[in-house]
């Protein structure tokens, strides 16, 4: 079987289509996939890169639903159903690790009983383990645990998942435009007829018309809603996560109690991460919110209760995302939020036709959210086509890894495994039969020149940070210390940036990287920071003047919860 090449980024502009999707997270990409598979013409606009909002800023947990079993059975059921669907349709994005819910001496063992029952009621296979068996299964778990339950949790790579959905959408005719920001929603009377977008790369604005516009922009949904003149009440809440420099645990480790801060430790590729916190922020700070020193300390103190090794493990990066928490519209106080997916038909809700909002939910329910929204789109377009996204396998997940490995045989075994894990059955598209192509750029994550070229040519990469999301370059233990300099050279050679802009590209990447490192200023991390400072500021001579970004203020005004605008 030859692999059909797919190119993510659209080259030509579209001015008319059936459906416009606003937002390139998992939900938007899932929607593009669902629409295009049902024969609906659609265009997706994302103001930055794919998976840059909450999609790429969470645990990457393939929820079993167990976390919600006690408090919210419906959510739990949704999770476990989607969990098994994703294992089938997105196997190259999933690591089937299983998860443990551990009870510590200070926790109530009674909770475990309720927990197991609630899981079983929701259809989640939950198996109680003897403490010694649990410790044998996951040696990194806190040895003082007094109870443990094994559940079918797993790990999912949100970047890979979003790209795979978008690739399938493109294959079925959808168009994907990253770095396109929606500036206005076009209305004719009580009907939405399209959007005006700004192409942020060319700095040109243009109008695109469609029968239905879908707001799939996560927490930014409120802002898109306000462009259309509808009020969507949401509560931005920052969740912060901390990444360790190696993979300490093999299974996901959760705390068996009511959900709280820093109670999930998720392994992922070569690293693992602990999260999260939950801090209300202002809408005005959605794009500038920062991880605080105190949050980092809290994550370490609480995380160490799940896994004591966390205390001494090297910390490599922290990051924060904002959950799309939507006000529960049935609640009259206006303070309650819902964790469910929320589908708003603004024709029914606000008398504005041609406009839909899909938000709330979780990464793991992205496909279901897309399905529900597409069902509504079909209803509006008077189409009757069934959804097949629960059974159709995503690009990359077709063939089994063993078979694919044979197709990229010229590479060194470790590099081969890394490429197959990142691209699944699309791995043969990565040039690998020459020494130039197989030369390694990133030694932590085993990224080759060929893989970078593939990403630049086919996966809508516009800068080094996009590249990081596509091929994990700079995501490993050294966080791009050496490889990013090499990648800058390759991007220049590939004419993705002009040579005079290259120092700026590199400066931008380093600034983005630093946002996740500045609060981790001790131990091994400060050593690495000093090294990077020498390398790029001293030896290479990069300064603020090289960066395309203005100097950020040292302190933000106090972050505090507000009402939606």
């Amino acid at each position: 079987m030859t692999v059909e090449p797919l190119v993510l980024g659209a080259l030509e502009r579209t001015t008319e289509t059936d459906v416009i999707i606003i937002g390139g997270g998992a939900t938007g990409a899932g929607l593009a996939r669902d629409c295009s598979r049902r024969g609906i013409k659609c265009v997706l606009f994302e103001r930055g890169d794919l998976a840059t909002g909450a999609t790429g800023r969470n645990h990457g947990l393939l929820h079993s639903g167990a976390r919600y079993a006690v408090t919210d059975r419906d959510s739990a059921k949704e999770c476990i159903e989607e969990n098994y669907i994703l294992r089938k349709i997105a196997r190259h994005c999933v690591d089937e690790t299983d998860g443990l819910f551990i009870t510590l001496p200070e926790d109530d063992l009674e909770y475990q009983k309720n927990f197991i029952k609630a899981c079983q009621d929701a259809g989640i296979a939950a198996e109680a383990l003897e403490p010694k068996d649990a410790k044998e299964l996951e040696p990194s778990a806190n040895p003082s645990l007094i109870g443990a339950v094994k559940v079918p949790d797993g790990v999912i790579d949100p970047f890979r998942l979003t790209v795979a959905n978008m690739l399938d959408a493109v294959k079925h005719g959808a168009k994907c435009y990253t770095y396109h920001e929606v500036m206005a929603i076009l209305k004719e009377g009580a009907r939405v007829v399209g959007v005006r977008v700004l192409d942020k790369l060319s700095k040109e604005e243009y109008e695109v018309r469609a029968q239905v516009v879908v707001n799939a922009s996560g927490i930014w949904g409120t802002l898109i809603g306000s462009l259309a003149g509808v009020d969507i009440k949401m509560f931005p809440t920052r969740g912060t996560l901390l990444i360790m420099g190696h993979r300490i645990n093999q299974l996901v480790i959760n705390r068996c109690r009511k959900p709280a801060d820093a109670d999930i430790l998720v392994p992922g590729d070569t690293v693992c991460l602990i999260g999260t916190t939950s801090i209300p922020i202002k809408f005005s700070q959605l794009d500038t919110t920062r991880v605080s020193y105190q949050e980092v300390e809290l994550l370490i103190t609480e995380g160490a209760k799940l896994c004591p090794k966390l205390t001494t493990a090297r910390k490599i990066r922290c990051y924060a995302g904002s959950r799309p928490l939507v006000a529960d519209e049935a609640d009259t106080t206006g303070r309650k939020t819902s964790r469910h997916l929320v589908l708003m038909d603004h024709e029914k809700r606000d008398g504005l036709s041609g406009f839909i909002t899909i938000t709330g939910g979780k990464l793991i329910t992205y496909r279901l959210m897309a399905e529900k929204a597409t069902d509504l789109i079909c209803e509006k377009l008077k189409l009757k086509v069934p959804c097949d996204t629960a059974t159709a396998v995503l690009p990359g997940s077709g063939e089994s890894p063993d078979k694919i490995l044979r197709k990229v045989a010229p590479l060194a075994p470790t590099v081969r495994a890394a490429i197959v894990s990142r691209h699944g059955d699309l791995a043969p598209l990565v040039e690998s039969d020459t020494p130039s192509a197989s030369s390694l750029v990133c030694e932590c994550e085993l990224v080759s020149v060929g893989e970078i070229k593939h990403a630049i040519e086919s996966l809508a990469v516009h800068n080094l940070v996009d590249l990081r999301r596509r091929v994990r370059i700079g995501m490993g233990p050294c966080q791009g210390e050496l490889c990013v300099g090499r990648a800058t050279g390759l991007m220049t050679a590939a004419k993705l940036c002009t040579p005079d802009k290259a120092p700026g590209e590199l400066a931008s990447f380093l600034e983005e990287r630093w946002k996740g490192i500045y609060p981790l200023n001790w131990g091994e991390t400060i050593r690495e920071s000093e090294f990077v400072m020498w390398l790029y500021q001293s030896i290479c001579g990069l300064t603020r003047a090289d960066s395309p970004n203005p100097a950020p203020p040292e302190h933000l005004e106090d972050e505090a919860p507000t009402e939606s605008p």
Partner: protein, 427 residues
Amino acid sequence: MRFDVVVMGGGLAGYTCAITLLDSGLSCALMSIGQSALHFSSGSMDFLNALPNGERVYKPEAALEKLKELAPEHPYSLMGAEKTKAMALEAERLLNNWGILVSGSFTEGNHLRLSPMGKLLPTWLSQKDVFWVKGDEKPLWEWKKVSIVTVKDFLDFSPEIISAQLNDLGLQTKISSFTLPDLEILRENPSEFRSVNIARVLDKKENRPLVLAELKKATDCDALILPACLGLNHPSFISELSKELGIPVRIVPTLAPSMVGARINNHLHREFLARGGVSMPKDVATAYTFKDPDAETLTIEKIFTANHGDIPIRPRHVILATGSFFSKGLYADMGKIKEAVFELDLLDYPDQREEWTKYDFFAPQPYAGFGVKVDENMRTFKKGKLVTNLKAAGLVLGGFNPVLQGCGAGVALVTALVAAQSVLAEE
């Protein structure tokens, strides 16, 4: 084991101090943990490129008084302008004496080096075969057109980026690349194609005619620019190429590892051994004792190391040149900064960890200035008591930002020389 002096740290400061003391007839052992910061350096040495307020410095000599006002704890400020100048001139003389041939002079002021990102940056001394040009703000080119010749598929050097920057600065450029059969073999291992490894191949005698033949193709210009991945172990390698080709050849530092920096380190190591220095590679102090811990001043009696177990070293003098955080001379935990071996007194630093780093990547990072407190003779203190036989030198010291002020190598050299003088004065 008895030595007159034990030097902890095998970087620029440690070796400079050790070689100077050996030349004065003292016996000397040097402990090092591995690759020093030199392995990740530009191959040029900065003395002072900017003041703490960001003002650019062209003539370091003229800026020392102002530096003293702005940064009274800077090692240059501690020792004073006169002494700083004398040590700078001494360092220039010594480096050339030791066979590390450098261009540039403290008296004339800074010249410009070329960075791996194509930027011309101020510096004090450059190795003779490294690309540099006279000038302060603007380069005073001797050439109109240069050829940039790189090794095919070498990722740590981008001729396109360097060329674009040089064009902006008024120099015409031409780019080409070459490969050799031996390089093709090296390339088969996808992670081996780095500067130092390539240099080992290109430096081989049997490859010399092949390298020359390749470079000859690019000589229709005023000078050749090559990535620093040849001439690792022969200081005259590049000047010989130059002679044979009939035009100037210069090398430019690549991304890490830095061959030009590693070369200085190797050279210093050889000079140290040639004078009878005792090298203790990959060794680190694990414990120490003071002669009389309750006395008003402290004196180190014994030092125990990882490799020597319970056999102590009994030095009369100790030089601490262990470097900063990267080299593990300084250590930070979540609440405190420590000097790693003796827990010496540090210059004041903020208690709050929030104030160690700045959110802006390009802002001066406070932690860069943290380090050991010394007097003008590089003498150190512990809990306020003088440690009589322990001097510190180099990046383990505090009071300066080596990156933004561009003064790391200068501080390493002059503090090492002052520390050595201090020891000799006590002898």
